[in-house]
C-alpha cells in the first residue's frame, strides 16, 4: 500500500465539471471533482441518487449527451488526457484505455445477435485485424476468465441468466485490457449470492490486468468488502475520499458520518436512523456548502462560503469547513 502511494497514479481526474442545460435552468451535475487512482486500486463511489455518481462515470467516458455538457476538467489515463482527444481517438480509447461495465446488464446486450459477435465487434472496432480463429480464441479466453463456458460464445442473450449476462459484460470490459474499469452498479439487479460471485470475478480479472477499478453503488456493505478507498458524493461534489477502514471508524465529513450511522447494525435491530431532510435539487442548490441545511455541525460560514477540498494526513480528501483550521 505504501508503495502504491508513491507510484504516479494511473488515473487522474481534475476539476471535472458537467452541466445539464434544462428548460428549468442549469443543473451542475458535477462540480469541481478531482481525485486520483493507482493501478490495481479499487475505489468505491457512493452517494444518494442524483448525487452525480453515474454522471461522473459518463463524463469520464465522454458519453455525456445533450442537454448535458462537460464544461471543464481533465481525465488523464496513463498520461493521456481523454478530454483532449478527437472524437475518433476517444472512440478508440473506450474499452482499450477506459472500460465501462453497465448498470443494467439485463438489457445491455443486443438481443438479436450472438454473444460471440458482440465480443468480436468490440475487437474489430479497435482495429484488431487478427484472423477469425485468433479473435475467437481471444474472446473465448475472455469468457473463460469470467467463469463462463466457451459455449456461451454461440449463444444469444436470452439464453443466459442475469448473472451470466453481467459476466459477459465484464468479459467485454476486459477484452482490451484497459487501465481503468468503471463498474456502474454492476450487481444492482442480482441476488446476493450472484452479487458476490460477480464482485469476485471483477476482483480477479482486475488483478490479472492490474487495472484501476471504480465501483459505483449505494450498497455500503458491498463496498466495505471489495474496495480499498471510498469516495462520497453529495450534490455533484466530492465530499470525502478515505480508505474503507478510516471511513467506517472515523468518518470526517458530517454527511459521511450520517451515512455510516444510517446503516442498520446488529446492536440496535429494527431502529433505522435516516438523514433528516432531502437531497437538494441541483437546480436550486443551497448557498455555501450544499449539505448545510441537513448538517448537524452547521456553522455560520457554511451558509455563505463553499468549503474547499483539503488533503489531510494519510492522503484523505475532505470538503468541509470543520477542517479549515486543521491544515
Amino acid at each position: 500500500m505504501a508503495d502504491a502511494l508513491h507510484k504516479s497514479p494511473i488515473l487522474t481526474v481534475s476539476n471535472l465539471e458537467v452541466t445539464y442545460y434544462t428548460d428549468a435552468g442549469r443543473a451542475k451535475a458535477l462540480d469541481d471533482v478531482s481525485f486520483t487512482l493507482n493501478a490495481g486500486e479499487k475505489l468505491g463511489m457512493v452517494g444518494e441518487s442524483g448525487s452525480g455518481k453515474s454522471t461522473l462515470a459518463l463524463a469520464m467516458m465522454r458519453m455525456i449527451k445533450p442537454p448535458g455538457r462537460i464544461e471543464a476538467g481533465h481525465v488523464f489515463v496513463g498520461g493521456t488526457d481523454l478530454m483532449a482527444l478527437s472524437d475518433e481517438d476517444m472512440r478508440q480509447a473506450r474499452l482499450s484505455k477506459i472500460a465501462y461495465i453497465p448498470q443494467g446488464a439485463m438489457n445491455s446486450l443486443n438481443p438479436v445477435i450472438r454473444i460471440g459477435a458482440q465480443l468480436v465487434d468490440a475487437l474489430r472496432s479497435h482495429g484488431i485485424r487478427d484472423s477469425r480463429a485468433q479473435i475467437e480464441e481471444r474472446c473465448i479466453n475472455a469468457l473463460k476468465s469470467v467463469d463462463l463456458d466457451p459455449a456461451v460464445f454461440r449463444m444469444y442473450p436470452h439464453e443466459l441468466s442475469g448473472g451470466m449476462k453481467q459476466r459477459v459484460c465484464i468479459a467485454i470490459g476486459i477484452l482490451l485490457q484497459p487501465q481503468v474499469i468503471i463498474a456502474d452498479e454492476p450487481t444492482s439487479a442480482l441476488d446476493v449470492v450472484t452479487q458476490r460471485q460477480v464482485m469476485e470475478t471483477i476482483d480477479r480479472v482486475k488483478n490479472q490486468i492490474n487495472a484501476a477499478v471504480i465501483l459505483i453503488g449505494h450498497d455500503m456493505g458491498l463496498m466495505a468488502q471489495f474496495v480499498d478507498r471510498v469516495a462520497v458524493m453529495y450534490s455533484g461534489r466530492l465530499v470525502e475520499v478515505s480508505t474503507v477502514r478510516e471511513m467506517f471508524t472515523n468518518p470526517l465529513h458530517p454527511y459521511t458520518a450520517a451515512l455510516i450511522s444510517s446503516l442498520p447494525n446488529l446492536q440496535n435491530k429494527g431502529v433505522f436512523q435516516g438523514i433528516p431532510g432531502l437531497a437538494p435539487s441541483l437546480l436550486r442548490l443551497p448557498s455555501g456548502c450544499a449539505f448545510h441545511p441537513r448538517c448537524t455541525k452547521m456553522m455560520e460560514v457554511c451558509q455563505s462560503t463553499r468549503p474547499l477540498t483539503r488533503t489531510l494526513e494519510s492522503n484523505r480528501l475532505v470538503t468541509c469547513h470543520l477542517y479549515d483550521a486543521v491544515v
Binding site: 438489457n107 445491455s108 443486443n110 467485454i172
Partner: protein, 332 residues
C-alpha cells in the same frame, strides 16, 4: 416439432380461406339481383326478344351456371370446385374462365403493388431510421418532412394531380392504360419498357402518399431503440458508428417493421382498385371493380378468394421469417 408447427399453420390457412370463401359466397346472394336476368333485360331493351323466350333463355343459362339449384347445393358445389381450383366461367366475359380472368390481370397488379410497397417501405424506413439518428446529415431530415406531409393526400387525389401536371400539362408521361396504342404486349423488351413507362405515374401516386407513414413509424421505433441499454453499451464499447447503426440499431427495428410490411401488403390491394381505375390499368383491381358492377359472382369469388389466400399465405410465410429475424422467437 417444426412439422407440427407447419401443419398447424397450414391448417389455419385453410380455415381462413374457408371462412373467407363462405362469406364471399353469401354476400352477393343477399343482393337478390340475378346477373343473367339483368344482362338479358339489358339486351331485350334493344328489342327482338319475346318475354317467354327470354324466360326460357334465362332458365337455361341459370341451369348452365348452376344458379337454379337450392342454395346449399350451390354452396356444396362451390366448395368442391374451389378444392379443384375451378371457379367456373365468368358470367360477363363468357367463355373466359375466372382463372383466366385472374391470370391475365395478375402480372400488372402484382408488379405495381409489389414494387410500390417495397419501394416505399425501403425509402420510408431509410429516411425514418436516419432522421432518428443523431449523427445523420441534415438533408435526410429535410427530405423526410415533405413525405410526412404528403401522407395526408389520398392516392386518388395524388393520382389526379400527377395526371394533370405531369401527364396532361407537361406531357412527360402517358395518361393511362398499360400500353401505347399499337404496341402489342408480346414479351419483347420494347413492350416491357413501354409498360414500365405507363406504370411510373400510378407507382408515384401510390408511393408518395405511403412513404410518410413508414418514416413516422420507423422514426418512432428508432428513437425507442436508441434509448435501449444495449445501444448505449455499444457506444461505451467504442464500436464504430457504422456497426452500431447496422447491427444494434437497424437490426432491432426490423422485426416490428417486417410485421407492418406484411400487413401493408395485405391492405394495399384496396388502393390498387382505385389507382387501376384512375389510370385504366388492366389489373386485378379493375377486374374486381367491373365484376362487382355487373354482378359477375364467379369472378368476385375468384378474385376475393385469391386475395385472401395470398394475404393469408403471406402471413403464414411471415411467421416462418420471424425466427430468422429474432432469435428469441426460435425456441417457442
Amino acid at each position: 416439432m417444426i412439422l407440427r408447427l407447419i401443419f398447424r399453420r397450414v391448417l389455419f390457412l385453410f380455415v381462413v380461406i374457408w371462412c373467407a370463401s363462405s362469406i364471399v359466397f353469401i354476400i352477393p346472394r343477399l343482393s337478390k339481383t340475378n346477373a343473367i336476368r339483368e344482362r338479358f333485360a339489358e339486351l331485350s331493351r334493344t328489342g327482338g326478344f319475346s318475354p317467354d323466350d327470354l324466360e326460357k333463355i334465362i332458365a337455361s343459362y341459370s341451369k348452365q351456371f348452376g344458379l337454379d339449384a337450392p342454395l346449399w347445393q350451390q354452396y356444396q358445389d362451390y366448395l368442391g370446385n374451389i378444392l379443384h381450383m375451378d371457379f367456373g366461367y365468368s358470367l360477363n366475359r363468357y367463355p373466359m374462365t375466372v382463372t383466366q380472368v385472374i391470370v391475365t390481370a395478375i402480372p400488372s397488379t402484382l408488379g405495381l403493388l409489389l414494387v410500390t410497397t417495397v419501394l416505399s417501405f425501403l425509402i420510408g424506413n431509410f429516411l425514418g431510421a436516419l432522421s432518428a439518428w443523431p449523427k445523420a446529415p441534415n438533408w435526410v431530415r429535410a427530405m423526410a418532412t415533405p413525405f410526412v406531409l404528403l401522407t395526408g393526400v389520398p392516392p386518388i387525389i395524388m393520382g389526379v394531380l400527377l395526371l394533370f401536371f405531369i401527364g396532361f400539362r407537361l406531357q412527360l408521361l402517358p395518361l393511362g392504360g398499360a400500353h401505347t396504342i399499337g404496341i402489342v404486349p408480346d414479351g419483347s423488351l420494347s413492350s416491357y419498357l413501354d409498360l414500365l413507362l405507363h406504370l411510373i405515374l400510378p407507382s408515384l401516386a401510390l408511393i408518395l402518399g405511403s412513404v410518410g407513414g413508414w418514416v413516422l413509424s420507423m422514426r418512432g421505433m428508432g428513437i425507442t431503440i436508441q434509448g435501449e441499454d444495449y445501444v448505449n453499451f455499444a457506444e461505451h464499447k467504442g464500436l464504430t458508428g457504422k456497426v452500431i447503426f447496422r447491427d444494434y440499431y437497424l437490426r432491432n427495428t426490423l422485426l416490428p417493421q417486417a410485421t407492418a410490411l406484411a400487413l401493408a401488403l395485405g391492405t394495399v390491394v384496396t388502393s390498387a382498385i382505385v389507382i387501376e381505375g384512375l389510370f385504366g390499368l388492366p389489373g386485378i383491381g379493375q377486374a374486381l371493380n367491373s365484376a362487382i358492377r355487373s354482378n359477375d359472382f364467379p369472378v368476385i369469388y375468384g378474385i376475393v378468394l385469391f386475395i385472401t389466400a395470398a394475404v393469408a399465405t403471406l402471413m403464414v410465410a411471415m411467421e416462418f421469417v420471424y425466427p430468422l429475424l429474432d432469435p428469441r422467437i426460435r425456441n417457442q
